[in-house]
Structure formats: C-alpha cells, structure tokens
C-alpha cells in the first residue's frame, strides 16, 4: 500500500522540478529569516538567487550539530515565536540539546511523512498502533502519533518501557502494528515468551523499528520471534524526527521522502559530494520545513543512496540501512555519546589514571557499555569493599555527568594497550555492520 502515490511515485523529472522550487524557497527563507544563515551565506558571498539548479546546492555551506547548538534555544527558527506550535529536543547528552521548532504546517508535514511510513508497514484506519517510542522531548513518540492520526488508525500512546503493560495491551487491545526501538522489540518478544504468552492471542503483523542502529540479523530475530514484518524507520530531530525515510515490504533500503527532504552523500574527509551508490555521510536539506529550515545538515550517519527503481513502485531514492557514524560517536540505547565525554567524566574522579577502554556489547539485545579503568595505587586497598566503593563511585559519576549507566571494570595498571598516536579506546562489539 502507498499512502501518497502522487508524491511517492512521482516521475523523476517532475520530482526534480518540485525539489528545485522548494529548495529555492527554503534557501530564500533561511537567508531572510535566520541570522545564522545570512551570516554564513554572506561570508561565502552566496545569494539565494545563486541557486538556479539542484546541482547548485553544493555552493551552500554545511550545517553541523555544533552550529545548531550555538543557536540554542531558538536561534535557528525562521518564523516568529507565535507561529511555532511545538518544540522538541535531541537527547542533549553531548552538551546543549538541539531544539527543533514546528509550525502548524510542519506538524502537518510530519504527520504526512509518518503516515507514509506506517502505510508501508501495512497500517490503515482500522489498525491499532502501539507506540512504544518515548513521548516527551524526544521526537519518536509524537511523530508516530501524528502519523497515526493522519491515517486515522487507533494510536495506543503507551510510550517506552513498562514491559508487562506493553504485553498486556498488545493482547487486550489486539495491537496490529508496533513502533519502538528494535532492541526493545526483541526484549518484548523475550519477555512475552517468558510470560508464556500465546502467540495466537497476539494480532501483531508488523513493526516500524528505528532510533538506533540495527542489523539484518536482528530483523530476522524479531521477525521469527514475533512472526511479524519488521521494517526500518529513520529520522532525526534536526530534520523533523521519525519519518524521513522508511522501508517498504521489499526490504530493499529505506525510501527517502524526497519531496520534503533532499539527501546527499559526502565524503566525511574531503566533504566533497559522492555519486549515488557510494558509501559516505548522509546530508539533508529540508525542502518544506517552515519553523526550522535546515541547509545541508551533516547527519554523521553513514549510508549509500540507491536510485534503481524499487519493486514496490515508489520512485523516490532509497538509502541503505545505517551502518555507522562518520565521527566516533556511539549510540547507546538511543543516547548519543562521545567517548571523550566518558574520558572527561573519568578524569573528574580523583585518583584515577587516564587510561581507559570502552567496550560496547549487546547481550540480550540491549546495549551495554563497559568502561575498563586501570586501577591506580591510590585506589588499591587490601579490602574488597574499598575497591568496590571506588568502582561504584566511578559508575555513579559517569551516570551523573554523561547520563548513561555503564559498568566499570577495574583492570591492572599498564594492562591497557598504549599507543603513540590516537589510542583505540572504543571497541564496539555489537556487530552492527
């Protein structure tokens, strides 16, 4: 099923024409209404009128998370405050959060693109959608909510967590579609299994899973455990939230809604655009956002764009499943973390050696971060309890300053590998590739 055939199956020429119109308009609005963009454009001596073809987009500057953070809280808004009807933020663990502002029109667009996603997963007005994405500042909950309303399905806004309740609701309400992180889906499947829930009592047919990097192997597991269709949803706060791209049931990559979001792939080293089919960093320019137009936003997500037509009939470009990031950032249980944040937190604990290693694993489908710290003479004691206290103190400090629970393991001094150059400190063993 296709929600908006006209937009999703638009002939290429028509789509390019629409994109160019919208790009020009976006650039003009950004330049005229957002001082940040005006300054940047002026520095580069670019005028909105310089954009006469889609290819001209390369003349425009990139926007990074840091740029957005500098505009905290409302510096990137292109409309007066009275026109903003909703705000969301990124998790903000790497500093000030990024604020996204939505006009009434943006909320409508958001509902539209999410409706396309949910429809790909088989949603109709008679569906019962259990929304396990968090409601609140995070975009996941509300984004799915608006999409479900657009379709006219029944949304069950259960939000994240509360596993027992999720399983009860799933059975009692006859949930047909679930939306949550893939790791939580697996956790739910496991918990339902342990509770001896009869699969026949569950009407679940599909799920839209995202907000974290996952693998084909995880898909297979979710599909076989729940006996559902597991599809990949993609989005980010800076662009709109969930609903930027979604997989159709052909599972051949995520369709990007190009009438609203213009994707590019660049080399994170040279910052030069790469041709379709090459792997690189995904960059987005919004084409219809009113509240917060985004010009060439560097997502740091690594993927490949594919133009070959999809069997589903949609003509819009597809992107591969995200396989990693172009920086050293880690996404742990949906929270973005730089290893340097862990380092900073460690160094704030008195008596600690600045030698550490981060090991990320995913036992039982949930991310776990282990921080190995070298025990210093100052920390050592002949009593277990003192060492344990110290270890717990480090854990508590990391949780307090980085916002994530980690497991600290003490290792012997000088046992962690030293390196002359950039030490390899992070070992991601989640097999996400």
């Amino acid at each position: 099923m296709i929600w908006n055939k006209q937009a999703e199956c638009m002939p290429d020429k028509e789509l390019r024409k629409l994109q160019l119109e919208r790009l020009k308009e976006t650039v003009r609005r950004a330049y005229e209404n957002v001082p940040y963009y005006k300054k940047k454009f002026d520095e580069l001596k670019i005028k909105p009128s310089d954009i006469t073809s889609l290819r001209d987009i390369v003349k425009l500057p990139y926007t990074t998370k840091t740029d957005l953070r500098e505009g905290y809280p409302f510096g990137m808004f292109a409309v007066p405050g009275k026109d903003i009807v909703e705000v969301h933020t990124s998790s903000g663990t790497t500093g000030k959060p990024v604020v996204a502002g939505y006009t009434r029109g943006d909320i409508d667009t958001w509902g539209e693109v999410v409706a396309r996603c949910l429809t790909m997963a088989g949603a109709t007005s008679s569906s019962i959608i259990q929304n396990g994405y968090g409601y609140g500042m995070f975009t996941g909950g509300m984004g799915i909510h608006y999409g479900s309303h657009k379709i006219g399905a029944t949304i069950v806004p259960v939000s994240a967590g509360n596993t027992k309740r999720q399983i009860d609701l799933m059975q009692d309400f006859g949930t047909t579609l679930i939306t949550c992180t893939p790791s939580y889906a697996l956790y739910l499947a496991e918990a339902a299994g342990e509770d001896g829930v009869d699969r026949k009592k569950i009407k679940l047919r599909a799920g839209c899973f995202g907000a974290e990097v996952w693998t084909e192997k995880m898909r297979e597991e979710i599909e076989s455990r729940f006996r559902i269709l597991a599809l990949n949803i993609y989005g980010l706060t800076e662009i709109i939230g969930p609903g930027v791209a979604h997989e159709c049931d052909k599972k051949a990559g995520l369709h990007i809604f190009e009438d609203h979001f213009y994707p590019e792939i660049i080399s994170p080293e040279t910052l030069e655009p790469l041709p379709d089919g090459e792997r690189g960093e995904l960059v987005f320019t919004t084409l219809t956002r009113e509240g917060m137009p985004m010009i060439r936003f560097r997502t740091r997500d690594v993927t490949t764009l594919r133009r070959e037509p999809c069997k589903c009939g949609r003509t819009v470009v597809r992107m591969d499943r995200i396989t990693g990031r172009s920086d050293d950032m880690l996404k742990i249980r949906g929270v973005l973390i730089f290893p340097s944040q862990i380092e900073r937190a460690l160094l704030e604990v008195k008596g600690i050696e600045p030698q550490y290693q981060i090991i990320v694993t995913r036992p039982r489908h949930l991310d776990e971060m282990e921080v190995q710290v070298e025990l210093s003479n100052k920390m050592f004691s002949d009593e277990v309890k003192h060492i344990e206290e110290f270890r717990k103190k480090i854990e508590a400090h990391i949780e307090k300053s980085v916002g994530i629970r980690v497991k600290v393991t003490l290792v012997e001094p000088k046992s962690l590998p030293r390196s002359e150059g950039k030490a390899k400190r992070v070992f991601d063993k989640r097999e996400l590739k």
């Binding site: 025990l375 003479n377 050592f380 002949d382 009593e383 060492i387 290792v411 012997e412």
Partner: protein, 143 residues
C-alpha cells in the same frame, strides 16, 4: 605487634595468580601465609612473607599493584571454640573484623591466625586486654 602484609591486585585473568607467585619464587621469597579475596571481576592476594619490602619491590617490578598494610597475628588454641573465643573479644569490644586467614604452621601447640580489624590499634588493644597472645613479626617469620 603489627605485622606487615602485602596485598596484590589481581585482574580476573588466566595465569595472573601464577605470575605473581612465580615472581616471588624467582626472588626466593617464601610465603608464610596467604589468602585470596575474590569478586566476580578481580581478586586480592594477601601475603605474609619474611621480607615484605623486598616482595613489594619484586611484584611492582612485575607490574603488579601492591600495597603494604598492617595486620595482627594471634595465637589461637587449636581446639573447638578456639577462634570463637578470640572473635568474641573483638565482638564484645565492638570491633569489626574485615577478614582473617590462618597459617599452616603452628606456634607450639597453638594455631596462628592473621586478623585485619577495621581499626588495627583498637583491635590490638582489645586483644591484649583480654590476654590473647599477639605474635611479633620475628616470631611469625620464625614459624
């Protein structure tokens, strides 16, 4: 009255205990008593040796984290209730015992136990008052 004990941090890794003991063997250091505290992730090897300073040096050279601290060695009657008697003294004096372990060798007819109380001086005082024999370092090394 106080006896020096060597503590060694052991990561929970194959062969690590052997490496520590091998380092001591190569330096011809004879272990008089030892105990290992183990948690799920690491262990602490505690040792009584005739030359603690030397042992510390040898182990540190082998990249071990080592600490010296004071414990008390007491004589305990080698009969049922012998150790309980000593512990009652400490319990009555409201002194917490962190850990204890025993020597293989005997002091005459008595068994020898290494005690670590929360406060070593308070422990010694309570034991002395109760008339429990505390061994001097030389006596311990001569066992």
């Amino acid at each position: 009255m106080k006896l020096k004990q060597i503590s060694v941090f052991l990561e929970n890794r194959k062969g690590r205990l052997w490496e520590a003991l091998d380092a001591l063997a190569n330096a011809k250091i004879n272990i008089r008593a030892l105990s290992i505290a183990d948690t799920s992730e690491f262990g602490i090897l505690r040792l009584i040796v005739p030359d603690p300073d030397m042992a510390k040096k040898v182990l540190e050279k082998g990249n071990f984290t080592v600490k010296e601290n004071n414990v008390v060695a007491v004589e305990v009657a080698d009969k049922p209730g012998g150790l309980a008697e000593v512990l009652k003294v400490l319990s009555d004096a409201d002194i917490n015992v962190e850990y204890l372990y025993a020597f293989v060798e005997k002091s005459g007819e008595k068994a020898v136990v290494v005690l670590r109380t929360e406060n070593t001086d308070a422990g010694i005082k309570a034991l002395k008052t109760a008339g429990i024999a505390i061994l001097l370092a030389e006596q311990v090394y001569a066992l």
